[in-house]
């Protein structure tokens, strides 16, 4: 059997490519950075400065970032810095025009005494972080931003939850490096540590 020069060169090239691909793939799969499972994006509230990029830079409109609330940390203030604009003065019952949230995604209910409870309407939240900024800089810091991932029965984009882009567009623009990748089986480690859901 004769093999033409061209055929021989092609076969050698193919062999080299196979060995190269296999070696590179194995080296990466056994390397320090290799992860067997899945990773998802999350925000480290300790680094987040609530700059507002989460609302504007997500590839989804509205953003997949929503607020989380550690109720155990919440002072349940009548004048909530995450709920009211400071222009409202200290009026605990200021009108709707003094609310910080541009989409009125914060539901406030009276608890008795000077106390109120604040709960998120996740469907309305656009992840702008105005409430988080107010609460962190002037209040107890019980509000924080979290990337919302699809739950059972949800699809990523269709339900406005994170589609896990290979390069997160918000992470790229995050001024404080607060975006990190966490294992998918524990997608809210920061919220869990603080005891506040997302």
């Amino acid at each position: 059997m004769t093999v033409s020069r061209r055929e021989f060169l092609r076969a050698s090239g193919r062999g080299a490519a196979c060995v190269g691909l296999g070696a590179a793939g194995t080296a990466l799969a056994l390397g320090r950075g290799a992860v067997a499972g899945e990773l998802v994006w999350q925000i480290d509230p300790g680094k987040c400065v609530a700059c507002g990029n989460c609302e504007t830079h997500c590839v989804l409109q509205p953003s997949a970032v929503k607020w989380g609330h550690t109720h155990a940390m919440c002072g349940r203030c009548a004048f909530c810095f995450g709920y009211y604009d400071l222009r409202a003065g200290s009026a605990a019952h200021a009108g709707v025009e003094y609310q910080l949230c541009p989409t009125h995604a914060i539901e406030r209910s009276y608890l008795g005494g000077p106390y109120f409870e604040y709960v998120i309407d996740e469907g309305a939240c656009i992840g702008c972080g105005l409430c988080v900024k107010g609460c962190t800089s002037s209040g107890n810091g019980s509000l924080f931003l979290q990337v919302r991932h699809p739950r059972r029965g949800q699809r990523g984009a269709a339900d406005g939850t994170c589609v896990n882009c290979n390069e997160c567009a918000i992470a790229r623009s995050c001024p404080s490096g607060a975006f990190v990748r966490v294992p998918a089986d524990d997608p809210y480690p920061f919220g869990r540590q603080r005891g506040g859901g997302a």
């Binding site: 092609r10 090239g13 193919r14 490519a17 691909l21 296999g22 590179a24 793939g25 990466l28 390397g31 950075g33 290799a34 992860v35 067997a36 499972g37 899945e38 990773l39 998802v40 300790g46 400065v49 590839v59 989380g68 550690t70 109720h71 155990a72 940390m73 919440c74 002072g75 349940r76 604009d85 400071l86 222009r87 608890l111 106390y115 107010g134 800089s137 002037s138 209040g139 107890n140 810091g141 699809p150 739950r151 029965g153 990523g156 984009a157 589609v163 896990n164 882009c165 290979n166 390069e167 567009a169 001024p175 404080s176 990748r181 998918a184 809210y188 869990r192 603080r194 859901g197 997302a198």
Partner: protein, 440 residues
């Protein structure tokens, strides 16, 4: 004005509340500015849930589906040989890999993860991502570019809208085919230096798969699709960085697309039908005439290649520091420097965070200088690669290889299967199961 007032107010309150720390935790209630009230036994604190992420498929199963799809594509291209079946695969490719999986991670993008993990061993990379990178290339080494035929959702969506194919002038198609190489080199350079993932940033169709995207993405993707109605697969042929690797792998492949395995009637129906200019035409007469001239040209081109490599490497080295500004750390250093010298009108969020962090400015500037050096070196290497590719490409044009039949070019054929339905020899073979007499 409104923002100014709010900032002023916030600053005042911050000063007043400075004794308390915003980072207090639930375990230290006395540290709160506003201690949580005692609300009695009847109060029920809202439940907080941490639901698991719903994945369409675990990552490795995802890679297994890709392997199955590649196997099916190879079977349809080489054995079954029907355009209709390949079209069905194309629709399934858009539905599964595009619409249901919503894009990430895809083999095209995965090359950046591989580049980054190669350059930085600490960068995390999923095993599934490695498989997404390797599997289509391995398939191309043995079956040609079957991945492109209907498995890749980016190619598949363009395949489906190609209704009025026009032929581009040869010089234009040849010129544009340099773009994927430039794009690949830039993408690898950016990923390896940590400056970001260009391919993902400028992915034209992922927004269409997710039915949600920024206006820019929709405009770019939409216009590319409109072009794709008239020009066959513009992204695959003139942009896709992964296509460069598939092209090389496919040149080495054991099997590539054969228009008909039993012979050619040189009727050129396939050439008319191919919307991707991927049919090599018989050239026996032309080669015989130009052999001598070709040899001279070949010698000249071989001599010119080292010059091309050196020139491009030089250009790349000088382009490097400018490219480095794309790295967030270098951009931050430039901003902080501009602020120091009073050139910046206002601070950015990133520079505010940097100043609050207490990190030394000198350290940041030194880090940026370091990264500029790395980028210059990297883009020099990228430039040399581009020069080498251009040289080899020109040498390839100079090589005259005699062809007597119409054949599918293994490098550029996207295995769409159109030529199968137009080749009279193939149709006869399909009908009778035998090779017809094509040469008297």
């Amino acid at each position: 004005m409104r923002n100014g007032l709010r900032r002023l107010g916030l600053a005042l309150v911050s000063v007043l509340g400075a004794a308390a720390t915003a980072t207090a935790t639930a375990q230290e209630p006395d540290k709160f500015r506003f201690p949580p009230p005692e609300l009695g036994p009847d109060y029920r604190q809202p439940e907080t849930a941490f639901p698991a992420v719903r994945e369409l498929l675990p990552p490795l199963a995802d890679a297994a589906v890709l392997a199955l799809a590649l196997g099916l594509a190879a079977f349809l291209v080489h054995r079954h040989r029907r355009r209709s079946a390949l079209l069905a695969l194309t629709i399934a490719g858009v539905a599964w890999f595009g619409w249901l999986r919503e894009g990430c991670i895809c083999p095209v993008g995965s090359l950046q993860n591989v580049a980054q993990a190669t350059a930085d061993p600490n960068a995390p990379i999923l095993v599934a991502t490695i498989l997404f990178f390797v599997l289509p290339l391995a398939a191309a080494l043995f079956t040609g570019r079957t991945f492109c035929s209907g498995v890749c959702p980016l190619g598949a969506i363009q395949e489906l809208v190609l209704l009025r194919p026009l032929r581009l002038p040869h010089w234009l198609a040849a010129g544009l085919s340099v773009l994927p190489v430039v794009y690949l080199l830039l993408a690898v350079l950016f990923a390896a230096t940590g400056a970001g993932y260009l391919i993902c940033r400028y992915d034209p169709f992922v927004g269409l798969f997710r039915l949600s995207a920024t206006t820019n993405m929709l405009v770019v993707g939409g216009s590319l699709l409109v072009i794709a109605v008239f020009v066959g697969r513009p992204y695959c042929r003139f942009l896709c960085p992964y296509s460069v690797l598939l092209d090389w792998a496919s040149r080495l492949s054991t099997r590539t697309v054969t228009i008909s395995p039993v012979g050619c009637a040189t009727c050129r129906l396939c050439e008319d039908r191919c919307p991707y200019d991927a049919i090599l035409v018989p050239n026996a007469a032309a080669v015989a005439k130009s052999r001598l001239r070709g040899r001279t040209a070949l010698v000249l081109l071989l001599a010119a290649t080292p010059l091309l490599v050196a020139g491009m490497a030089w250009a790349g080295t000088h382009l490097g520091p400018w490219l480095a500004s794309a790295h967030p750390r270098v951009a931050l250093a430039e901003q902080v420097e501009a602020e120091q010298q009073g050139r910046a009108r206002e601070t950015t969020d990133a520079s505010d965070v940097f100043r609050a962090s207490g990190e030394k400015i000198e350290a940041l500037l030194a880090d940026a200088e370091d990264r500029r050096g790395t980028m210059a070196l990297g883009s020099g290497i990228a430039g040399a690669c581009l020069g080498l590719w251009l040289g080899l490409r020109l040498v390839g044009l100079g090589l005259r290889r005699t062809r007597r039949d119409y054949t599918a070019d293994p490098a550029t054929c996207l295995a769409c299967g159109r030529c199968y339905e137009w080749c009279p020899v193939e149709l006869e073979r399909r009908r009778t199961g035998r090779a017809p007499e094509v040469r008297g």
